[in-house]
Symmetry: C2
Subunit: 333 residues, 2 copies
Amino acid sequence: MDKQTITIYDVAREASVSMATVSRVVNGNANVKPATRKKVLDVIEKLDYRPNAVARGLASKKTTTVGVIVPDVTNMYFAQLARGIDDVATMYKYNIILTNSDSNNEKEVKVLNTLLSKQVDGIIFMGNEINGKLREEFKRTKTPIVFAGSVDEEDLYARVNIDYVAAVQEEVKNLIDRGNRRVAFVCGPLEQAINGKFRLKGYKQALKSAGIPYDEKLVFETDDTYKTGTLLQPALMAVNATAAMVTDDELAAGIMNGMSDADVKVPDDFEIITSNDTKLTEMVRPKMSSITQPLYDIGAVAMRLLTKLMHNEPVDEKNVLLPYGLMKRESTK
Amino acid sequence: MDKQTITIYDVAREASVSMATVSRVVNGNANVKPATRKKVLDVIEKLDYRPNAVARGLASKKTTTVGVIVPDVTNMYFAQLARGIDDVATMYKYNIILTNSDSNNEKEVKVLNTLLSKQVDGIIFMGNEINGKLREEFKRTKTPIVFAGSVDEEDLYARVNIDYVAAVQEEVKNLIDRGNRRVAFVCGPLEQAINGKFRLKGYKQALKSAGIPYDEKLVFETDDTYKTGTLLQPALMAVNATAAMVTDDELAAGIMNGMSDADVKVPDDFEIITSNDTKLTEMVRPKMSSITQPLYDIGAVAMRLLTKLMHNEPVDEKNVLLPYGLMKRESTK
DNA sequence: CTGTTAGCGCCTTCAA
DNA sequence: TTGAAGGCGCTAACAG
C-alpha cells in the first residue's frame, strides 16, 4: 500500500536541511539561498521525490482541482466545452474531475456534494435547469462556481454563453424572410431555461416581428437525441412545417436524416438550422447551417473566469456573452 | 477560505461522543451501538456535516478517485469510452480526473505524474504508443493501471480491447471477396502499436490469404482527423484503390465526404469500412459499415477491472478481449 | 535565509 | 462498544 514512501522528511534529512526549507524550494519560495536550493533540488532528483498533493491540500486548503459537471460527455457539444475547460485548467495547473449528470437533478445534487467533499477549489457547471434543491446547494457553498453554456435566470452566478435570444431570433427571421410561414421550433426540455426562456423567446420575437401568430403546435419538446430526431418527420409534416429551428446538433442531424429517408429534400422542401456548430454540422450531408458559437472558447473562458474567482481576482462582468455567428451551409436555401 | 468549518470534532462534541465514534459511523463500522449511531447520525444531519475527503485521503491513503488519460475527449470514440468509465466509477464510488494528452508522450508523462502526485487510487490509460519514458513511469509506480481500447505489446498491463487483428482481417477479406483487389489501409500513426502492429497485421494477413501482394503505396498513415480524411480522395484514386479499411470513424467520414464531393459514389465506386462504430457511423450518409466494438463496455469493463486491482481482488485474465462484430451499413456493397 | 512548531481533518491501533 | 492518542505529509506562521 505504500505507493510512495519518500516524504519531505526524507529529502530534508538527506539534504541536511529542515523540512521547511524543502517545502520552500518545492513551492518556489524565494527565501532560499541558491546553494541550498540546488542541494535540495539534487536530493529531490536523486530520491525521485514527488510531493503528496493530498497532504498539501489538507495543509493549504487548496487542491488545485476543479469539478466539472456535464450532462453527457458523449454529446459533442459538451465534449468540446470540456476540452476547452481542461486545456485552460492545465494551463493554470489545475486538474478537472469530470462527472456526467444526465441533466438529472438528483445526480447533479449528489455529484455536487461529492465534489465539495473532495474540496475542489471551484466548479464548472453545465446544465440548464437549476431547480430548488440544486440551487440551494449552490447557494450554500462558498466554493466558486461558473456556468458554461448554461444560463442563470436569477443572475447570481458567473457564466459564459452567447446571446441565445438574439441568435435564435435572427435565424428564425431569416427563415421567415425566405418565405417560411410555418417554422417549427424543435428543442430540448422546455423546463430548461435556455430553451423555455431564452431560445423560445427569440423564436417568438421573430414571429411577432413578422406578424405571424405563435402556434404551439409548432413547438416540439424533445430529449435532444439523434434517435428522437429521426422519428420527427411525420409530426413535422403533419403540422405543415417547412422549416425548423433546432436546438441541438445531434437532434438536428436526426431530423435531417429522417427527412431524407422519407424523401423530403433538405433544404428544398424543408430547411433546418441548428444551434451548436459542433463538428457534426460539417460531417453530415447536407452540411447543416447553424448558429455558430465558440464552443471551445466558452469552456476556456469559463475556466479562466473560474481561476479569477478562485484567486479572488476582480471580475468585471459575471455574465459573459461571447460573440455568435450565423453559418450558412447546405441545410438552408 | 473556510469553505466548510464543521469537522468531525464538532459533531463529536455535539453528540457527546468521541470523534472516533463519529468516524466509525461515518465509515459504516459495525461496532457502534445502534442508539449512539442514531444519535450521531442526527447530529450529522443537523450540522450538515460533510466528511473532508482530502483529510480522509491523507489518513487512509485512499482517495477514491482514479485518473483517466485520454488523447482527446472531443473524439467520439474516446468520449464513449470515458462515459463507460465514469458510470462504473460512480457505481463503485470513485470519481475520475479526466486529462487530455493529445497522444503526446510528453504530456502523457507529465499528466501521469501529476495524477500520481494527487494520489489517485488507479489509472485508466488510453493511447497506443507506450514509449520508453512513459513505460518507465508506468513500471515505477505501484498504482494499478489498466489500458482501455489500447494494446500493450509487452503484455504487462491489464487491458481491455477487441481482437483488432481478426476484426480487420475479416473486414478486409470481405472487401477482397467482393472483388476489390486494391484495398487501401488508412490509419492513424503507425508508431502506435494498435495500428502498426495489430490492425496492419490483420490487413496483411487478409491480403496474403487472398494471394494479393502487399503494396506499401496503399497504406496511408494519417492523424485520425476528419479534415485529413476529406483531403485523401485524390491520393486514393491515384493508387487505384477501390476500397478502404479505415481505423477511425471521423477520419472515415472525412474520406467518404471527400469522395462524394468529388463525385465518386460510395459504395458503388468506392467502398469504405471503418473501425469504431461510434454514433457517427449512423449519422452520416451513406451510413458507414463498421467493425462494431462495445465502446461503452470497453470503458465500463476497464473500470471494473481497475476496481478489482485497487481492491486486490484476483483477476483471471489481464488481457480482456470483448467481442466485436461486423455491421454492414451503406458504405459497402 | 533557515529551523521549530503547530496544526489541517480524519483513520486506526491500542486500551479500557 | 467506546475513547485516547499518534500519525498521514505538508504548509505556515513565528522565531532566530
